[in-house]
Symmetry: C2
């Protein structure tokens, strides 16, 4: 029975998802990963957020790089460069096996949910990891130079172009994945956690999938978001830069405002304690704590506080 539904992007989200899996019965945790970043490259389906979550929970994540697998080798990519292949998106030899096998199974007619769930089981993960949807949704980044496919913006252009907006192609025709829908059918989960991921490119694509917002709003589960912005900066990635470019102050308060209407509680870092009152004035429950997860203990400890906080919010 799913008690906790966690919405996650890549690295930051995966850290809290790992903490949650250790702070509760892992089998009661459903992690819904963003697939707006997914793309087809070298003939392979690549799902960066699913993989970061899966590698992180499977204790297979590369600790140095912050992406990809541990104990990785790079012979494939080295050789591909000598053959004139497209080398802007780096793929380790072990990581590649996952993309090749996933692509093969998708082409054989399996859904991304089935493939993702099976891979997670092979990695020894007791929690369930699913894509937000089995239908293709693709994040498009609007820039003054025109629209960019997400990975072209993110990796090839290294997030350098100014962003003017985002679109999620296919989202209005996409259905939430069966496990995601199923978590809200019959009994509601005890909580929905929006992990400290980029609101625009990690969480908004999930919320854009047809019916997701309605499903969360109709549920009695408290929805709790953790700020990915700490002290005016993003822990990782381009969240603060995007907020600047979109003409929003790069603050935790602004993230809370972004989620207004959807969330019931908001988790702020100690560094942003001064905006706690302003967040409360939005009608939200507030938890102020250390949200910067450096160690595994940090992850578990934040997860425990978030769980306890969601129970408080729920009882109000």
């Amino acid at each position: 029975m799913i008690e906790c539904v966690a919405l996650s992007g890549g690295v930051g989200g995966a850290k809290l998802a790992l903490g949650l899996s250790k702070a509760m019965d892992p089998a009661s945790l459903l992690i819904v990963a963003n697939t707006g970043d997914d793309f087809d490259h070298l003939g392979l389906r690549i799902c960066p957020d699913i993989d970061t979550v899966s590698y992180t929970l499977g204790d297979l994540a590369n600790p140095e790089l912050g992406w990809g697998r541990r104990d990785e080798s790079w012979s494939f990519m080295e050789t591909l460069k000598t053959l004139g292949g497209e080398a802007w998106f780096n793929l380790g030899d072990r990581d590649l096996a996952l993309h090749v096998e996933r692509t093969r199974r998708l082409q054989a007619g399996n859904t991304l949910s089935v493939v993702t769930t099976d891979m997670a089981a092979r990695f020894g993960i007791a929690s369930t990891i699913v894509p937000m949807s089995d239908d293709d949704v693709r994040t498009i980044v609007d820039t003054p130079g025109g629209p960019l496919a997400f990975q072209h913006y993110f990796v090839r252009e290294r997030c350098e172009p100014k962003v003017t907006g985002f679109r999620f192609a296919g989202a209005s025709d996409a259905r939430p994945s069966p496990a995601f829908r199923g978590a809200f059918e019959g009994r509601d989960p005890a909580m929905v956690i929006i992990c400290p991921s980029n609101p625009f490119i990690s969480i908004d694509p999930i919320l854009a999938v047809s019916g997701v917002r309605r499903m969360l709003e109709a549920s009695r589960a408290p929805v709790i978001a953790i700020s990915p912005i700490v002290g005016g900066k993003a822990i990782k990635g381009p969240t603060a830069k995007m907020m600047d470019e979109l003409g929003m102050p790069a603050t935790a308060l602004e993230v809370a405002k972004h989620y207004t209407g959807l969330i019931d509680g908001f988790v702020l870092d100690e560094a942003d304690r001064e905006v706690a009152g302003a967040v409360r004035d939005l009608g939200l429950g507030v938890l102020v704590t250390n949200t910067v997860m450096k160690s595994l203990d940090d992850r578990v400890s934040l997860a425990r506080e978030v769980i306890a906080f969601s129970q408080q919010v729920s009882e109000k």
Copy 2:
């Protein structure tokens, strides 16, 4: 200007092709590789004979394995096994880069000739390597248990099933590759060499491509075959086993008979000197020499003798 057209399968053929490239102006050598072994696996187009020839001439071949690349790593395959992927066909990490890049370029609309020629140039190969055809031809091995796709017979079943015959699906609709055709347009090449490859599964597929036999027969170039059978055994691979199963004596003489009507000269190993007369009685020129190529010197030396022999045959 192409002086020598060499028809080749994998390892044995590639050895002589390497010798030929060092025994003449390499730019005047066209190597036509069998593609009846090609197959699609894990979503990738794999061309074993093209690759063995290319790796061999590019000094990239794996000396221990007899297939694949030197300095190879195996992270991909190790990981694929843990993911439940199809692991019966082994692919090294560096080798994989070639398959991925070739597949990408084919899907982008390039011909196999263009891709193969470009890869050979990147490997620093001065000779031209082309597929027998840019159209798909697939060798089917007939067995008492039914037909088997070539690689299923060769790798997955380790050549264990008894063979009753061979078919080359698509051959009658396939055209020879442009460079293969071009070598016979206008001026004829000085010689056509049938490398010491398996007659049934390496050379016959090339000869089965629509128009190839007619093209060779119409040419004034002498056609010289080198026996892959030495002392009743194949240097490598299942040639002798296949001859047994097809009810033919596994002898060099039988190989010469197989090519009768097409070839002008036949090269026999010293070990088979006693059949030289019988081969001559087939109306063929005969060269008896050491055909077992252990060292690079052996390859070059056999190539020089074959070239000189083809000139003798031509003058007759």
